[in-house]
């Protein structure tokens, strides 16, 4: 009986932590809401809802690696080492929506957390890989390190840390899905960050006769979009 419970417990644990692979391809990813390392916060586990169905993956080409900047190797709260460490540039993906932050986030446990996700490009090189429009829409504003796209759906997407000099869009420009926006970099105004794209999605949710605009979980939408990119049908 004791062994039976041990085996059942092992199987359950394995099922909960198993990385999903895709069609036998190299790509693998942790479940949505599973933050790595676990000390990086409490993710929104089990919310596999695709909030932005059909979007294009925001980086033009694969591979790309969705994982924590802060808690990754060389990150401010991560293990010591180079930001270019190969561990940062490998699968599986790990959700980092709701990672510990002081930002107000009603959909995260405790009401605070990371409002989007961080994505690394194929290699640790800035100004090499393009971020692209996830859906048809219009560029509504460009700041020193933020480009904002309002999609036809009404959803707003923020692209952070693109290289300002490489931007291919201007405020007010209409863009098609997949159109180049700018090169992923470490731009954060005059205080650079690590090389990555911070990507988030904000939408309005109607609750009865009231409504609220919130940053929604992008992870499942991005897993879906990335699979299509790998399949050659982005």
């Amino acid at each position: 009986m004791k062994y039976f419970f041990l085996i059942v417990s092992f199987l359950l644990l394995t099922a909960c932590t198993k990385q999903s692979s895709y069609n036998g391809k190299e790509f693998s990813y942790n479940p949505s809401g599973k933050l790595v390392p676990s000390k990086s916060g409490k993710g929104r586990k089990g919310d596999n809802y695709i909030y932005a169905p059909g979007i294009r993956f925001p980086i033009e080409s694969a591979p790309a690696y969705l994982n924590s900047q802060l808690y990754g190797v060389g990150g401010y709260l991560g293990p010591k080492g180079s930001l270019c460490n190969k561990k940062n540039y490998s699968y599986p993906w790990s959700d980092n929506y709701c990672e510990k932050r002081r930002y107000s986030m009603p959909l995260c446990s405790g009401g605070h957390g990371h409002q989007g996700v961080d994505i690394r490009t194929a290699t640790c090189e800035k100004r090499k890989y393009y971020a692209v429009a996830v859906e048809k829409g219009v560029i509504t504003s460009i700041g020193s390190y933020v480009v904002k796209l309002r999609g036809k759906s009404g959803r707003t997407y923020r692209y952070l840390h693109l290289d300002s000099r490489s931007l291919k869009v201007r405020t007010g420009q209409k863009v098609r899905r997949g159109q180049r926006i700018g090169l992923v970099s470490n731009n954060m105004g005059k205080t650079p960050t690590s090389i990555h794209l911070h990507f988030d999605m904000k939408q309005t949710i109607k609750v009865g006769n009231r409504s609220k605009s919130v940053f929604v979980p992008p992870y499942s939408s991005l897993v879906d979009a990335y699979k299509r990119l790998l399949d050659g049908h982005p």
Partner: protein, 170 residues
Amino acid sequence: MRLIFFTLFTLTFLNAGGGVLDVDWSSIDNSQQKPSAPYPSVLRDGIKDVHLPVYLSASYAYDKNMMVVAGENFYSVSFKLDGASVVFEGDKTFQESVAPTNPEFQKIVKQTPPVEYVESEGMMIAEFNRHGVNYAITVECDEPKTDGRCTEQSFVQKLYRHLVMVGGRR
């Protein structure tokens, strides 16, 4: 258990059918609609087709260097400041709807203050709902870690306090 709960929650309560929110025009303060001088043409022309109340801070409403991006259901008006930028936005669309009985969103909506000041990736944002529509003021700084406009709430609070309605059609 949590996995089952969230799966059931998302499947049961979220409805991906979006739409347009109703604007409560009766709650508009009409006295605000009379400017002391005509607004610059970039603003008048830019928002002429916007079907929701358009708000800007009074001190920016006459700045001819503003950039206006707008459609029937939204607007975004941005300004370059010295070492920063400010964006005023309004949007009357929604992308999801949930049942009023949904416990998570019921709690979220109930706990939302009239205006919320939110830090966000080095930016400072004021979010609020007026006339049934969602608005935001975003301040982004060239030096986000040291510029008081992005580390403190006072600047964005001031922008919020001085909002005036500069247009919008029924």
